[in-house]
Amino acid sequence: MSRRARLVFFAVAAAALAATLGAGLAGLPSFGRQVSAYARMLNEVAGPQRHVTDVVSAITFDYRGVDTLFEEFILLAAVAGISVLLRPLSDEIRELPEDKAPDRAIPPPSPAVWLLAVLLSSLLALIGLETVTHGVLTPGGGFQAGVILASGIYVIYLGTNYRTVERYQPDALLEASDGIGAAGYVVIGLLGLLAGDAFLTNVVGLGTTGNLIAGGTIALLNLTVGLEVAGGFVILASEFLDQTAVIRARRR
């Protein structure tokens, strides 16, 4: 199809699709007028049943915990997939950029920048830890905390140069964190089976509502997800960063 033909065809198709979506949306209950009995029931019982105050985390990690299990593997698969796609191929090499002025030593990062980066990174780490540990109480949990922790690590990189990152980035540890986090979800699920109940049944002591350590497996799953997401996101970003910084075509 030529561009013009495609645009005309799309205009017709999109108009028909708009009418279709309109017909569907028109059948929805008016905005803000209805909440399902299922949701009302869960809002009511989740607190007493699971000793958590954030019902969303109870649904995510307990009532519908299997969804989240597979969601974690979507992330794991995406990280593995991105590592595969962005791996250095046979016609590429990894090398640091050539020094434009080899006689001049690379200045070490200035102490002020370094200090700022460390401070900011510690702050992010604190926010991340707070987010993951309060998952059962307030909005936020393993996923959000993982991304915040990952960005904390990246802020440290901002305060230094890529040569240092290249040397000190703990690849094995990050991969292990990604894998253990995902495997941890499965293992916590197996606790239910070991206790003679169904997979992912919340069999750990529920604690007191309002405490940080409450909700049984919900808190544990938050932690393991945080571990996986933090490792996964650092790997993910570092694959893209590697492409920009160190992977280049082999000269022929």
């Binding site: 028909a16 699709l17 059948g27 209950p29 299922y38 794991l76 698969a77 791996r87 191929l89 239910g192």
Partner: protein, 632 residues
């Protein structure tokens, strides 16, 4: 059955069938750098085989007795579903075990020669397998969406595995963009149904909709769900991504795609029809049958015509797959247990045969560095076993008895007769013969050196000729990711490793064995009947009376008659004849005329993602219009 309730003894098997591959994948992702290569291969194969065994156990245990498993221990209370369930029946478990068999075969085939990028390839294959199992077993609509996305994410990455070549990358982009949009449609459909019924459980949604007349919301929810899943199933006009992705993915990945992934899309469409929409008031069945049959026939014909037009062997098999998907949709779209049973046996038989063909093509590619039928002309000498494999596979595509496909074909034709649509047999035969003839033509050219060597038609720009070859050979720099060691030169062993030659033969043997097993048709019919029974399904999931309705056993299966066998043999002969004509020098003008007549169809397959998304939008609107006509 021995009288022991299979639910008790096998209940832990149900979660194990996804937990085993998931746990292995996670550990391999985390620690593969500490494992030697052979250990990675062995672990992956062992886990795939274990998953296959678990799903086979489930298939046997759930026969005549659906097994319901409530995750997190949340059973329905007060008439309300709380958690997520697996509703295991023999059809779903059988589909899952087919995924396991093909994943095992693909992994064995990878042994030694395939660079697995430090095990990440195996991680992705195992996650793909777990997601497929989840897809087949789940009883929850949103969980179905999550499985859809998980299958998709692994598949996008696997398609572009040979990231050093443009074709796989572009195929993956087309695939990823269209299928992501399909996923969004599915999710919007989920939202619509939740807004109407207040639940995400398939059985409970079906119960809430049963007896009601469909309004705009229900129709659009159907169109969005079915449309999203039909993108994955590559049904016209949602199919344009398929040849781009299957034609460029690595061979072991093609096996998973052609044998499992597209079929999952159809599986989902039939599952949501049977559990959710079939109970709508006004008897929508017959009209929906017309819609599904129309889509199926169109897909089968387009796939068959396009398959004959290809000289790129992987693209040819991609279109063969598409034609098959159309035939499965015809079978399932009859909306009778017998039709579904026929389609199921065809999925198994054709899936095994297509996988064998892909693996055979992989051997040729590995040894001769080409997948072009014309470039390979006469170069098959020394690859005799593979030649026999491919020829056998091609004959099986034409329903050579006693292979299991012949049984499926018989059931399907009988179902069409009973539905008063005997002419469907002719449509199916046409498509089957074309697909088979395309592959036989390639085999004749490659191994016998028959036919002209040049491209069959002068269609520059649309000639389905292979471009740059994307070899499945070691393509990762270094060996340990960070290292800068020079990689080993690609080894081209004189002897073909047995791990490449045997898996396709083993797959064909499985299909033959199933075909020779007595009672396979009855089992399929019983499984399909259990799958199609909405009220029995709902009763099993939600509890209540009628949980054990063995209506399944009462489906009469026609005996294999001599006429049936003769028809199948006739198809095989017709395929051989068409292949011979396609290779005959005297028929050059006929071929040119046909190529010219189908040029417009080949030009439609432009391989441009913008075109494909436009067709997707149009297809959705069309499906909604058809759905409105069928459901109202």
């Amino acid at each position: 059955m021995t009288g022991v309730n299979p639910f008790i003894s096998t209940s832990a098997v149900i979660p194990a069938s996804v937990v085993v591959p998931l746990a292995a994948a996670a550990l391999m992702a985390g620690f593969s750098r500490f494992l030697p290569r052979r250990a990675r291969d062995l672990i992956a194969i062992a886990v795939a085989l274990a998953t296959t065994t678990l799903t086979l156990i489930l298939m046997a245990a759930s026969a005549g007795h659906p097994m319901i498993y409530w995750f997190s221990g949340w059973r329905p209370a007060g008439g309300m579903v709380i958690g997520i369930d697996y509703a295991v029946g023999p059809l779903g478990a059988g589909m899952a075990s087919l995924a396991g068999v093909l994943a095992s075969a693909a992994l064995v085939y990878c042994w030694r020669y395939f660079d697995s990028a430090r095990g990440r390839h195996h991680t992705l294959v195992l996650i793909f397998l777990a997601a497929s199992v989840d897809f087949c077993l789940t009883g929850d609509l949103f969980n179905l969406f999550v499985a859809f996305e998980l299958v998709a994410v692994t598949a996008f990455a696997l398609t572009a595995y040979n990231a050093g070549h443009p074709a796989p990358l572009q195929g993956a982009i087309n695939f990823a963009v269209t299928n992501s949009l399909g996923g969004m449609c599915v999710l919007m459909g989920v939202g619509f149904l939740y807004a109407r019924t207040g639940t995400l459980n398939l059985a409970q949604i079906g119960q809430a909709l049963a007896g009601h007349h469909a309004d705009g919301l229900v129709v659009v929810a159907f169109a969005l769900l079915a449309g999203g899943f039909l993108v994955k199933a590559a049904v016209v006009p949602f199919h344009f991504w398929l040849p781009d992705a299957y034609g460029s993915a690595p061979i072991p990945v093609c096996v998973l795609f052609a044998g499992v992934m597209s079929e999952l899309g159809l599986f989902a469409v039939i599952r949501i029809w049977d559990t959710v929409f079939s109970g709508l008031a006004g008897g929508p069945g017959p009209r929906m049958r017309a819609v599904l049959l129309g889509l199926g026939i169109l897909t089968a014909l387009v796939g068959a015509v396009m398959a004959l037009a290809q000289v790129h062997l992987k693209r040819m098999l991609a279109f063969v797959t598409m034609s098959h998907l159309g035939i499965y949709l015809i079978g399932a779209g009859l909306l009778t247990p017998l039709g579904l049973a026929g389609a199921s046996l065809l999925v198994i038989g054709d899936g095994l045969a297509k996988s064998a063909l892909f693996l055979g093509v992989g051997v040729v590619q590995h040894q001769r560095a080409s997948v072009s039928e014309t470039k390979l002309r006469g170069r098959g000498r020394g690859l005799a076993v593979t030649g026999v494999t491919i020829t056998l596979g091609a004959l099986v595509l034409a329903d050579l008895p006693p292979y299991v496909s012949a049984a499926g074909h018989g059931l399907l034709v009988d179902a069409a007769d009973r539905a008063g649509l005997p002419w469907l047999e002719i449509v199916i035969a046409l498509c089957v013969v074309s697909s088979s003839a395309a592959v036989l033509r390639a085999a004749g050219r490659i191994w016998l050196g028959w036919g002209p060597g040049e491209s069959p038609g002068p269609q520059a720009g649309t000639a389905d000729d292979p471009g740059e070859e994307s070899q499945d050979e070691p393509d990762t720099a270094g060996t340990n990711g960070g290292g800068q060691e020079t990689r080993e030169p690609p080894s081209r062993p004189e002897r073909i490793p047995l791990t490449m030659v045997l898996p396709p033969l083993a797959l064909l043997a499985i299909g033959l064995g199933l075909g020779l097993t007595s009672g396979v048709e009855e089992h399929a019919a019983a499984a399909a009947a259990a799958f199609s029974d909405r009220t029995a399904y709902a009763a099993a999931v939600l509890g209540g009376h009628g949980a054990s309705v063995p209506a399944a056993d009462r489906i009469a299966v026609p005996p294999t008659s001599a006429g049936r066998v003769l028809t199948d043999l006739g198809q095989v002969l017709a395929a051989l004849l068409v292949a011979a004509i396609a290779l005959d020098r005297r028929a050059a003008r006929l071929r040119r005329a046909l190529a010219a007549a189908t040029g417009w169809l080949r030009r439609l397959h432009s391989g441009l993602v913008g075109d494909q998304v436009t067709w997707l939008a149009a297809g959705l609107a069309l499906l909604a219009a058809l759905g409105a006509a069928a459901l109202h």
